[in-house]
Symmetry: C2
Subunit: 179 residues, 2 copies
Amino acid sequence: MNNKKERKGLVIVNTGNGKGKTTAAVGTLFRSYGHGFRICVIQFIKAEEVKTGEFLAAQSLGIEWHYCGDGFVFESETAQNSAEIAREGWRLAKEKISDQKYDLVILDEFTYPLKFGWLDISEVIDWLKDNKPSTMHLVITGRNALPELIDYADLVTEMKEIKHPYREQKIPAQIGTDF
Amino acid sequence: MNNKKERKGLVIVNTGNGKGKTTAAVGTLFRSYGHGFRICVIQFIKAEEVKTGEFLAAQSLGIEWHYCGDGFVFESETAQNSAEIAREGWRLAKEKISDQKYDLVILDEFTYPLKFGWLDISEVIDWLKDNKPSTMHLVITGRNALPELIDYADLVTEMKEIKHPYREQKIPAQIGTDF
């Protein structure tokens, strides 16, 4: 990319209970793709079986995409397994972030492994402070972003639910808008 | 698209003072693109001179994109001109929405012409109720969504600013994340 020296790589957190956290991260991906950025997406929590529109689109455009989840969002009897998969995801994230190859790295739903204590928040942030390339944008999504993460981030948006089609009208998740 | 009969076209509003309104709309575009949806974007307010990453990406993928703005966001001496351009944009939007050709139409920053009274909110919503195809998703973005619009929408998210890089650190808008 041109103008690398003038660029300041932002740490962006999309959090809150509303829709639009992953969606906005995907929007940043599309925006960055338009500028020729080199992009890597790592999805925590979500499992590969779900072929989302964003995954299909990224695949068709040759954008790097990794799944590091088993599909269970909440702590449960599978937590041991989920935690191990998340730690594997973080090892992959560190590899991708530190190799200086990317302009944008997205860690989707990365707040959960931090919130659940599967990864130590201080260790993660200390590592990022030392190793994130200064011009690389980093986007992290998920509910319940910890205060330490918000403190570290440059840009934090809370996606707040005002009206939800399932809750109000029992309309189930829709192709193209929800996945 | 398959499963058209089972689909319920949602009316989605991304509003609030935070980042991520247009970004999430662009994310919905990317998600929909992955599913092979036919997409049309109409940008109000923004002028064509700004070649955003999302515009460049859409152009490279053959996604239909229209600019209907003169670049002035706020009411000013240019309001007369801005209002006329916005009304032209709405005429185009009606044409696109009613021709049954699209699975997703995005009206970016469309809340402003409504808020400023350049278009009559009741007329707009009555027209949409009568003419929006039932399986077509419609995404509207912008601050200060009027109560009538929120009432009509299926899904409303408020993007709330928690932390902003310019306000807190004087970091200007960045390529790839802001445009």
